[in-house]
């Protein structure tokens, strides 16, 4: 069975098509990398796969359930680590986990054991009672992974999970994730700008640009296809050298303002 089944997915915002007639399959237990330059439609696709946005046309099935008509079943079946932190900074690590467990209806008896297991897994159990706002970027990421796994999802979505992390933390994180994939057969769907990560970890790589998949296969396949020596070169050969600009969102602007204020 396929974990993710996307059929002719299109998403338009006004006259702009973020995603155009996108179709792909991710079999269960696969590690799937979704790569593309900024503005290629990666985030929009992830938002649709995770029910945050509804498609303009086309269909998405997650573990065989429709992302539009069976939202609750779909939501139970995946865990997600977002591109930006999505923890409540004013709560402790444990409280963040507990709130998640309640939202996903993990029964109280199982919940406590599972929270401990997951926090130990990401090596944060000793710091469970600290407020998240005192955590470093890497610790927050680990906590988010632990939280995303709390309800035993069948699929884990990771949207640029290693952005801004040092090489040690990145390497650790991928070790956890690969281990989960091997031990529990969990399907992993991730985006990243670090080509060597995708090359090393992903079974299948899809390269998207302008809202549609332009190439798909293993890192080796893509290199052979483009006659290049690395995934990075293959990626550039497929998507071109031009730098893509994304409009700054109000969130980016606010973060910037906060940073400026923080320095004063």
């Amino acid at each position: 069975m396929n974990s993710i089944d996307v059929r002719h997915l299109t998403k338009t915002f006004g006259s702009f098509s973020a995603v155009k007639d996108l179709s792909f399959l991710v079999p269960q237990g696969e590690i799937f990398a979704f790569l593309g330059p900024n503005g290629a439609g990666k985030s929009t696709t992830i938002k649709i796969l995770t029910t945050l946005l509804s498609p303009t046309s086309g269909e998405v099935f997650i573990e065989g359930k429709s992302s539009v008509t069976q939202q609750n079943e779909v939501r139970k079946s995946f865990g997600i680590v977002f591109q930006d932190p999505s923890l409540d900074d004013e709560l402790t690590a444990y409280e963040n986990m507990e709130l998640h467990g309640v939202l996903y209806r993990v029964p109280p008896v199982i919940r406590m054991g599972r929270i401990e297991e997951m926090l130990r897994f990401v090596e944060l159990w000793d710091r469970r009672d600290e407020l998240v706002k005192h955590f470093s970027g890497g610790m927050k990421r680990r906590l988010e992974i632990a939280r995303g796994l709390l309800h035993h999802p069948k699929i884990l979505f990771l949207d640029e999970p290693t952005l801004g992390l040092d090489p040690q933390t990145r390497s650790h994180m991928w070790q956890y994730i690969v281990a989960l994939n091997k031990q529990e057969g969990m399907t992993i769907f991730f985006t990243t700008h670090y080509m060597e990560e995708a090359s090393k970890i992903a079974h299948t790589i899809a390269i998207v640009d302008h809202g549609t998949i332009i190439a798909q296969g293993s890192a080796h396949d893509l290199q052979v296809k483009t006659g290049t020596a690395s995934l990075e070169e293959a990626f550039l050969a497929l998507t071109g050298d031009a730098i893509r600009d994304e409009d700054a969102t109000s969130t980016d602007q606010m973060r910037m303002n906060m940073r400026i204020r923080g320095r004063k």
């Binding site: 945050l52 930006d84 409540d88 900074d89 004013e90 709560l91 409280e95 998640h100 996903y104 109000s250």
Partner: protein
Amino acid sequence: MSILYQLWLRQLKRYVRSRARIIGSLGQPILFLVALGFGFGPVFQKAGGGDYLSFLAPGVIGMAILFSAVFSGIEIIWDRQFGFLKEMLVAPVSRIQIMFGRTLGGATVATIQGLIVFGLTFLFGFHVISFAFLPLAILFMFLIALLFTALGTAIASMLDDMQGFQLIINFLVMPLFFLSGALFPLQGLPAVINDIATIDPLSYGIDGVRGALTGAFHFGLGTDVGVLLVVTAVFIGIGSYLFSKVQI
């Protein structure tokens, strides 16, 4: 049920942990009690209005609740900017539950804030006729809190960032407060002001608190409760609808 409880609890934990916010938000009510209460007291007395501080105190309690409640609702923008809203929206929980849990939590926090200010008013010489109706006063405080948290949620659902926040404070929250009968009696007003005060839901909330604590209702107990319940229901309905349309 446990989902509502946890979302409610989250708001309370956040409140208890932000001591700076608790203390900071008491500054304005104290300033009003000192400047207006003591400043206008003698004039009010001479005009035959009686003890101004006892008249003003329920208004200032209402003010504290109004600001705290609207702010709690607006905090959704904060959750959106800092990502936690996404965590709630991808969870297998209906938007209505999220909205209710948050609104109840925000309203509870605003009510506590109102009770703290209520405690402070005694330091300034607030005379309560009888404490027998204290539960009624608290009920009114909670209704004000619920109504304006729902309003804040509705507004926050339409905004993407905090840029519009100042606009809302100056053109909605301030007028709601100043034209509500919090500061002056609603008798013998110019027709325009009287009309505005009559459509301002806060007028009924403050009238209810004032009536319960000092015995003097302007609109009457039944009218106050009825208007507040209806307007609260409408705002919760609008807030739920707008929140259900939020996209990230």
